[in-house]
Symmetry: C2
Subunit: 525 residues, 2 copies
């Protein structure tokens, strides 16, 4: 697998005038080859191809669309060794983790292939004509969902496979019938190119229009800006920072035709240690917490950034245990120099907040781009006074917050911003305590966990990886799991169309054998 | 039924310092009583009550929530005579139309009650635990949808019942478990108060928290602005002008916590007269078109504002027939003086466009606020040159556009903005012609009709009253039909929760007997 550094615009390899180099975060060294920075004309070319591909691509049968997703999975499997090797160099993530992530990426493609083939994602609804109804007859009305149009995808730095070029946003857009123009993440451009080439092979093998997929590189914000503002783009999927997500949302809202932006921007993922469980399991909770916090150098959107527990002797014991555990943790290489710098700044800001005390730190290491884990403590009263403590710091740092009454706990919880996850560590004796918190949690988070840790997001049907702002820009969706397809769908209603003009999912004889909502009742196949 | 002109803030009647009077558009005269203009403090009070009501209201059983919607329907029926009488004075709409609209409003409440009681709107999904799975066990994951929070509703001027205080937005928000703060339309404040009092009676009769519903009046834009910007409001439903919808969207996007705005802003609803049908049914098409155009003084979002047909003798005959038909139409009183003035301005702008010719007009009448129907013609080439022709003019005016080739027809269709509806008048011989247009229509419109007229929107399961921008601000939804509930819902995932903490729709023994998606397969009750 030789990297060329070119843009992948449909079937063409497009070199460019300006270039940038990938950096190995573990050494700080630049790596060959040079990667092309797309021009505005390149962005325009890719978006026009996507626009041209939209109608023929969405006209594919569900079976053919599913086969395409499965073909992408096969092409990725063929290239796994090369992809994992390059991703390791570009991200400093260990091989085992990257192989696992490749498995997840392939599994995700196959899950969506199954979803597409089943067909109920199109949500067919039929209200048959009632010609005899008085005072007015009812027309025959049929609804299905179709793709919104070409989708721009911005991958994440921290999941170079599962949330990047062939990640959840790309897969759910392709599943919805939408061509994808992907902006390659500049932190792993070689990984992006290899994955992009695998997708392109699948496009060609399935005989699809070349514009179904393009990959555009660039080192700054320009390419992304042009992409979001291109009239052919009808929706955006983004995973990354708050600043990035908000900048893209602002551009999307200012367009002549505004478009939806599904930005997953992270959160501090509060973990509640309920009184009974806290007292009964102080020791195991402390070690499990430090494991979750430092896993992957804390580089997860679902990292436990704040732990909330009752003040008192148990809290003091927990602090000591966690501090002892974190002191033994090695520093780990972060994904990029920029992320490492931002981590250091975030830790500095937190440590300067009134009422915040450092209680423990991991090992310091002199290697480049390494993050030293850190643990702070404060009180609920201080936390509520200073909004700075509510902001995510991407990396292995967490804030232990003690509260002194249930009323203060509820006020603290109400003061939280929107979250991807909220976790309860509880025993049977904590049931009433937990039940009182649950309605607030439901308003604040996309996922509520009991006796687990938030890191780890299952790709399945019931998952919600989303949540109220600022966790995401649209709380009504998820970016992981089959529900993610709905972000890129819109309903179309057909009134009194002759059977010959109806799409198969709505045709009179139900040739696809779908479950359809007929007059409000689900008629299963 | 005595009108007081007060605001309805929860259970309280709140008078205000400043007032405005309703106007009878048929006479231009002001009517008693004076209606209160809400202050910012009033808006705050209503929104806080809504926030307080959210958790207890959404905790109601589906049966109790459905009973509440049905109680609203009963309260409206009790007050029908008073409501219809006042609405007639405030809107100049005829009694028969208003009685029909009341029937639709009541039917809509009952349809949503049935939907809520059935329960599948919550879309329960269950992925059971797989403790033996390798390399990692799977947790038990369950998803349901809950309401987004308090919703601000801005009613429409042209449907004082079905799209106003107890209209589709209010009903779908209440069905979703969201309290509603409604901004009463200043064109029918008395109607709004009567309907609001009926809803309030239902709130009291069902023993619900008073904040489930409030009604705020005002004559300008201030009240709406405060409402959209209030932190307790989590979504907005709006039906009205492009300018109004865009102003509200801009305010919502600038909030510290941005919120979704579902604004239905209208469209020009193109009608395509396919060659065979056009030649075979020229006469009946012309008269049916003029009927649809002038119905309700053209004051429908789905009014046929543009008719597209092949140039030639048939087109000339159609123009003559339509001009003759429209010449016999009486002028009708519009909803407000402002709407009538805007109609006149819109017709002036259209008539001044290059290549646009007046071909027919309705009767002129000297009564106040009357709109004279008007018919213009142009060519596809001229239409595509001037974006001014693409803009909706609210009222009984339409533009007949002739094209000279299929290629020009397709280019014209691609040049259209997003629409609520696109209609095909076609015969069997037009099948290929229609089939070639259909993919473009699907990209451009929320509803596609064959051999019907777009005015008339059925409240059912398959309806889409929505469409790509600028028809609406969010093409992924509908504001009419049961699908409208999804605007105000968001998914929440529960991971490994003990059964005792799960909501009934997700509980292990399925006490509500719902159809649930289990491991990707629908398990029906």
């Amino acid at each position: 697998m030789t990297l060329t550094g070119t843009l992948l615009i449909g079937a063409r390899d497009v070199p460019a005038g300006t270039h940038f180099l990938a950096v190995n975060p573990a050494t700080g060294e630049q790596m060959e080859p040079a990667f092309a920075c797309a021009t505005q004309a390149d962005v325009d070319a890719a978006c026009r191809l996507a626009q041209q591909a939209f109608d023929p691509y969405r006209a594919l049968s569900f079976a053919d669309r599913a086969a395409f997703l499965e073909k992408i999975a096969l092409c990725l499997i063929e290239d796994t060794d090369a992809i994992v090797a390059r991703a390791g160099l570009e991200t400093a993530l260990p091989e085992g983790r990257l192989k696992g992530e490749m498995g997840r990426t392939v599994g995700q493609l196959r899950l969506f292939a199954t979803l597409v083939r089943q067909g109920e994602w199109s949500e067919p609804r039929i209200d048959p004509a009632m010609p005899q109804r008085t005072p007015m007859p009812r027309a025959d009305l049929r609804q299905r969902h179709i793709g919104v149009g070409p989708v721009a995808v911005f991958g994440a730095s921290n999941f170079p496979l599962a949330f990047s070029v062939a990640g959840g946003d790309t897969v759910s857009a392709l599943a919805a019938g939408c061509p994808v123009v992907c902006r390659a993440h500049p932190a792993h451009p070689g990984t992006g190119e290899l994955v992009g080439r695998a997708i392109r092979r699948a496009v060609a093998a399935c005989g699809l229009p070349e514009g179904v997929f393009s990959l555009l590189g660039g080192s700054g914000h320009e390419v992304g800006g042009w992409l979001v503002q291109h009239p052919a783009i009808m929706a955006v999927g983004f995973t990354g920072s708050y600043a990035g997500g908000m900048a893209i949302s602002a551009l999307a809202a200012k367009r002549a035709v505004p478009i939806p932006v599904f930005a997953e921007m992270g959160s501090i993922n509060p973990v509640y240690l309920c009184p009974q469980a806290f007292a009964a399991r102080t020791d195991t909770l402390a070690s499990a917490f430090v494991n979750s916090l430092t896993m992957g150098v804390g580089q997860f959107c679902t990292n436990p950034g704040i732990v909330i527990a009752p003040a008192g002797d148990v809290f003091e014991a927990f602090v000591r245990l966690a501090a002892t555990a974190i002191a033994m943790r090695d520093a780990g290489t972060m994904l990029t120099g920029g992320i490492c710098t931002a981590y250091g700044q975030g830790v500095s800001i937190l440590s300067a907040c009134d009422g915040v005390t450092l209680v423990g730190q991991g090992q310091e290491v002199a290697r480049p781009n390494c993050a030293r884990a850190a643990l702070f403590r404060t009180t609920a009263a201080d936390f509520m006074r200073d909004p700075a403590m509510r902001h995510e710091i991407f990396g292995p740092v967490s804030l232990l917050v003690s509260y002194s009454s249930e009323a203060e706990l509820h006020a603290l919880t109400e003061s939280l911003e929107g979250q991807l996850t909220i976790t309860l560590q509880m025993d049977d004796g904590d049931m009433a305590h937990a039940r009182a918190l649950l309605p607030i949690f439901e308003r604040k988070a996309g996922r509520i966990l009991v006796n687990a840790w938030p890191t780890g997001v299952e790709v399945c049907h019931a998952m919600v990886h989303g949540g109220p702002f600022p966790a995401t820009t649209d709380a009504r969706t998820t970016s992981v799991g089959t529900g993610a397809i709905s972000r890129f769908l819109r309903p179309v209603c057909y009134q009194d169309l002759p059977d010959a003009l109806l799409p198969p999912e709505l045709a009179y004889d139900n040739p696809l054998g779908l479950s359809r909502l007929v007059d409000g009742t689900m008629q299963t196949r």
